[in-house]
Amino acid sequence: MKKKFLATLTATAMLVSMLAGCSSGASETETPTQITEKTEQQTVGENAGAAVEENTDIEVSGEAKKLDVGVVIWSVDDGGLGFSVKKQLEHVGEILNVNFIFKGGSVDAESQIKDVENLIAAGVDGILLCPMVDTTIDKFTSMCDAAGVKLSLMFRSVMDEDVRNIVLASESFVGDVCEAEEDAGADLVDALVEAGAQNLALMYCEPGNSVTDRRQAGINARIEELGINVVSTYTMPAGTLSAGFTEGANSILTTYPECDGFLLSFGSDGGIDAVIQLVLSKNLLGKVHVASFDTVQDTKTAFENEILVAETCGSQADALFAFMMLYNELQGTPLSDKPIELLSNYVYVKNTEQAAKYDEYWSYENYQLYSEEEIKNMAKVYNSDLTLEKFKEIVAAYGYEDVLNRLGL
């Protein structure tokens, strides 16, 4: 009878879990007011208040359609870039009354194709995508053409020539935004060299992630150019905890005592912090320097002890721009009738106070890169005299100083 009970219990468990899945989904597909409620819980008080205002006067203006947008990204829970992109977009979505469906965790082309298919089937108006492989992009566009769904790429430009031509030809393709990842990598190398590092240890992540791949390419190119000695190139196995970085870095330092600089192509999952901790605990201050993509948590100590020389971050804005292009297109007020290809800037943080400010204004809790006004100004619906040039200016202007100036600091 134990088994009977068990059977029923588990059966119910299945049902409950499914229903749970559904209900949480259902609540998202409900009326706009409910959406704001939902998002309120996710964001901190002040924004929520603002959000409600916005909604009310949306109802008044009534111009802007409510939109469903699917986001296909490598991950929304990596605690780093993917995560902050999600937060950033949710923040914007709440202002512009857009409901996002995030599909993370698809790291290979096939499952991305699945996601796009499913999102189209789910009847989204537009898709924001960070493609894994160049060569699948034309497939995406053709799928979107068929379904009349708009597509916009983030963190990525189309490299492959003939694919590019096909993509640019398709009418569903809105445009793409990407950082100068390569340049950023090169800049970091330079920063380390300035600090006097001559024997670098490179800590890379497994290939296959389009963003980091390009960063690493940039770094390698620059290093060859300058002819700097690389003691070891250490590729972190997927799933390494920050502790893993410590082990790796430590082993490098023990095997190559001459190593005097670490360069991480990704640090969002505690990597940099681990390495910095290690340098601290081994008391190699001034001897070993660290430069990295993504943000360090404890920037203060890192900079004060002259361990960290530079970090490159703020790229969540990239997704924002890509989305705005898509948004304008979907509201029937396209910025341009041709696909737009933009380059967005990195934010460089090179000392303590910069870091402090960055933490304050870029942090997940309260995105203030752009105030609600400014965000609306990027949407023709609210700001009719917006042109492609103006938008390009905004994008080009984005950077450390820019944000602070606009915030009047």
């Binding site: 068990l6 468990a13 879990s17 597909t29 082309a109 296959g208």
Partner: protein
């Protein structure tokens, strides 16, 4: 004497529950499919069972379907294979690189590479008497490692030759999947391969003691699984146009989920049936699709899958074959 009686005692108690449990096992997958489909078609106001959506689900399930067909044979011996994803990336990459010269070698190469990998797993298991789960992890890591190094040392990414792009069509996937199902069904229901593999899963030592050349059938099963996996990687290659180091990531987990959701007990035995795997694939693909239709975010999807996994196992697994398992 005493112990033997004890075990008999246990059996006598189990008898009552047995019928009940067996019935659930038989019906669960079908019920599951029906329940899930109905629930979601209600929530999505019929959107989920719109013809267009059904086709999407079918096509999406094809690749897993083909792979799962082979895996059914290895799992029916109670041998868990965690190397699938690794093997796929390995064979796709090999095929892609060699296929640049002539696209017609791609399919053969996919199949050959997969068979070799699967054989490694089988040999480790049979001759070193080490659980396949360990052997397959080794193969998986090796394959991924090789794939990564190749990608690291390669400027251009590996692309599908245009000659094969024409194959990228719904009918193609469905046709291959159908073939795979038919062949596997015949093999598992009307030949020794299937029957004896199930027997091995049910009670290995009995099969051995009877004097069946067990290792032969084990190896055959792995070879067949290699063939289907090779075809699956071929489809994967065509569908995803290019290959990256991450191709086929998480394929093994999903396959195991599929089998379990289909009501197959991972310790093998008589309840492993091809048809269950098919249902599992459909259910899985449908779940993936429907959860997006209702707008559930990806992370929750993972959680739901996990719970369903344990739930399905708890109901589907027959505990009488628990004796020889740690």
């Amino acid at each position: 004497m005493n112990e033997n009686k004890n075990t008999m005692e246990v059996k006598s108690i189990k008898m009552k529950e047995f019928r009940h449990n067996e019935m659930i096992q038989k019906l669960l997958p079908f019920l599951g499919l029906i329940i899930v489909v109905t629930i979601f078609s209600v929530i999505t106001k019929g959107q989920a069972i719109a013809l267009s959506n059904i086709t999407i689900v079918l096509v999406q399930s094809c690749i897993y379907m083909v792979a799962a067909m082979g895996v059914t044979f290895t799992i029916s011996q109670g041998n868990m294979d965690m190397s699938l994803g690794g093997i796929i990336v390995a064979s796709c990459m090999a095929a892609g690189i060699l296929g640049e010269s002539s696209p017609w070698v791609i399919l053969p190469i996919c199949i050959i590479v997969s068979i070799i990998c699967e054989l490694i797993v089988a040999v480790i298991h049979i001759y070193l008497n080490i659980p396949t789960i360990i052997g397959s992890f080794i193969v998986m890591y090796l394959a991924r490692g090789i794939a990564s190094t190749i990608m690291l040392n390669r400027s251009a990414n590996i692309v599908l030759p245009n000659a094969l792009k024409t194959l990228d069509h719904n009918y193609f996937y469905c046709f291959i999947a159908m073939m795979a199902i038919i062949v596997s069904y015949i093999l598992s229901e009307y030949t020794q391969l299937g029957k004896i593999n199930r027997a091995i899963g049910a009670n290995q030592s009995a099969v051995e003691t009877s004097g069946v050349p067990m290792n032969k059938y084990k190896i055959l099963a792995f070879i067949y699984s290699g063939i289907t996996l090779g075809i699956a990687s071929f489809m994967m290659f065509i569908r995803s146009v290019g290959v990256t180091a991450k191709t086929g990531m998480g394929f093994e987990t999903n396959t195991i989920l599929i089998l379990v959701i289909g009501g197959i007990s991972l310790t093998g035995g008589s309840n492993v049936r091809v048809i269950k795997a098919v249902i599992g694939c459909l259910l899985f693909a449908f779940l993936d699709n429907a959860l997006i239709l209702v707008g559930v975010n990806s992370t929750e999807v993972g959680l739901i899958k996990g719970i369903i996994f344990l739930a399905a196992v708890a109901v589907g697994f027959d505990r009488k074959s628990m004796t020889h398992i740690v």
